[in-house]
């Protein structure tokens, strides 16, 4: 249950921060654009265990939290950012910028054109970013490892079980998670297509 909450909230926060960031990055012509983009992508490079340890030392301990859930969610949100920025960015890059201009010519204000045309065109990209984030968060182990006081995620729970001995419940859980992941992947493939999700390699 904790896993679900963390995954849903972190995905939501990741998108809430990542999508506007991707938009700003795509539209601006700042010199620091590449640097900012790298900041958003950096959670992919930093080992998750390091991020987990840092959050543990800098937030969880100093704040004397009884329940680490907020820190856990924060960690996952940081982890989700690259997906949100990268995937949304990829679909933005494929986006026909002239469609928004066409809407302007037909009488739409910039805000109206964004909501009527650009956002709906981005929807598949945002949707796939959400799915990808959700799965990543739901299955995450290394980041969660140090941050589970008071609330444990499913992979950690499973790790504990395995550490204590082989139990058929683990096999059952694994099967369920695997099946769920396959279903989600199937939905993603049918609605958007994998090529699109993983950076939009070929249309």
């Amino acid at each position: 249950m904790t896993s679900l909450i963390v995954a849903v909230v972190a995905t939501f926060l990741g998108l809430a921060l990542g999508v506007p960031a991707a938009l700003a990055l795509a539209r601006s012509n700042l010199k620091a654009k590449a640097a900012i983009q790298n900041v958003f992508l950096s959670p992919l490079i930093v080992p998750e265990l390091v991020l987990g340890a840092a959050l543990y030392q800098q937030l969880a301990i100093p704040l004397r939290l009884q329940n680490y859930l907020p820190v856990l969610i924060l960690g996952h949100t940081i982890l989700m950012l690259p997906y949100a920025v990268r995937v949304t960015g990829a679909s933005l890059a494929n986006l026909d910028a002239q469609a928004e201009e066409a809407a302007r010519m037909l009488g739409a204000s910039p805000v109206r054109a964004f909501f009527d045309v650009t956002l709906p065109m981005l929807r598949p990209g945002i949707f796939s970013a959400a799915l990808l984030s959700f799965i990543t968060s739901f299955n995450n182990l290394p980041l969660s490892l140090l941050l589970t006081k008071g609330s444990t995620t499913l992979p950690i729970e499973m790790l504990d079980y395995v550490a204590q001995g082989i139990d058929p419940m683990i096999a059952a859980m694994s099967t369920v998670i695997l099946a769920a992941t396959v279903v989600i992947a199937f939905i993603a493939e049918r609605t958007v297509g994998f090529a699109q999700i993983f950076g939009g390699i070929n249309k």
């Binding site: 469609a99 809407a103 302007r104 010519m105 037909l106 009488g107 009527d116």
Partner: protein
């Protein structure tokens, strides 16, 4: 005379150090089709985007129906525009695409549907109203884009290289289609293109641009029969240039250069040039014969003649020939 549909008044546009449009003034006449023609980077698209409202000129004024619109954003100008890559809304049906401008104008749904269907009928796509854009071919999508732009009944229709994404045959078909639609609607159209055939076929007024300036403007016939400069002549397909005895430069089209055997007598008044064939290319309907001859100024020049109906063996490289140009086909250039 009525007020021009649009006017550029001393318009300059710079991007950083680059001068994209350099002090142009131009009147777009009501009900006519004006073409901005030129190679890429000549400022034609920048000019159109300033007229559309997407970019603000660095200096000068844009007037629409006599009113200063220089600072007005695109959505307040009421112009229609068709883009190179169709720019349809993929998440809407064809009918909703066409009706979008009317929806923004708060036209009631029934009226909106009627007018969208009318616009679709005009472009011959009535049967496709409920499809999504991606279910249609490129040519059909471009017609939807046209219907969408026309549906708002714009004062002025802007076409930004609308046919360049289509294949060659479709392009020719769509030209005829554009002519028909313009004749039926009486719309004032500004067309940007780099295709001289398109410009010659469609324009009432043709504006040839180069490096941000207007090189020559006039009816297609006026510009074609008397190009003002070598640049315009080259752009319109004059491939041969030579210097006359008095030092002036002149141009000749390949199909107006006659090739005969050396020493051939010819009609009085023709300019005769003696030389040797250097290359022959057989192309089915015609034969391209390249010869090196001495022009009246005594310089060696290479001229290409387009000989209709000649077989591949009619001329061979190394052959001595005499080229003849009738005086009316010798276009003397001002610059």
């Amino acid at each position: 005379m009525s007020v021009p549909a649009a006017q550029f008044v001393n318009i300059t546009q710079t991007f950083g150090d680059v001068v994209a449009v350099d002090d142009i003034s131009l009147d777009i006449e009501q009900g006519k089709l004006t073409t901005l023609l030129g190679p890429s980077g000549c400022g034609k698209t920048t000019s159109l985007r300033m007229l559309a409202g997407f970019s603000k000129p660095t200096a000068g004024q844009i007037l629409i129906e006599g009113e200063d619109c220089t600072r007005l954003p695109p959505e307040k100008r009421g112009l229609g525009m068709v883009f190179q890559q169709y720019a349809l809304f993929p998440h809407m049906t064809v009918r909703d695409n066409v009706g979008y401008g009317l929806k923004l104008r708060k036209v009631p749904a029934a009226e909106r549907r009627k007018r969208a269907d009318e616009a679709l009928e005009l472009v011959g796509l009535t049967a496709h109203a409920d499809k999504r854009p991606r279910q249609m071919s490129g040519g059909q999508q471009q017609r939807v884009a046209l219907a969408r732009a026309i549906a708002i009944r714009p004062q002025l229709l802007l076409l930004d290289e609308p046919l360049s994404a289509l294949d060659a045959r479709l392009r020719v078909e769509m030209r005829a289609e554009l002519r028909r639609i313009q004749a039926e609607t009486g719309l004032c159209v500004v067309l940007v293109t780099h295709d001289q055939d398109e410009a010659l076929e469609l324009s009432d007024q043709m504006v040839v641009m180069r490096a941000g300036r207007i090189e020559q403007a006039g009816t297609p016939q006026a510009v074609f029969s008397a190009p003002a400069s070598r640049f315009v002549a080259e752009f319109l397909g004059y491939e041969n240039f030579l210097t006359l005895a008095d030092g002036r430069r002149a141009a000749v089209r390949p199909e107006q250069l006659r090739v005969g055997a050396a020493g051939d007598p010819d009609a009085a008044g023709d300019l005769l040039l003696d030389g040797t064939v250097t290359d022959v290319a057989y192309r089915g309907v015609d034969l391209l014969v390249t010869s090196e001859v001495t022009d009246p100024a005594g310089q060696a020049v290479r001229l290409v003649a387009d000989v209709r109906g000649a077989g591949p063996g009619a001329f061979v490289p190394g052959q001595a020939v005499r080229l003849a140009i009738a005086p009316e086909h010798l276009i003397v250039l001002a610059a």
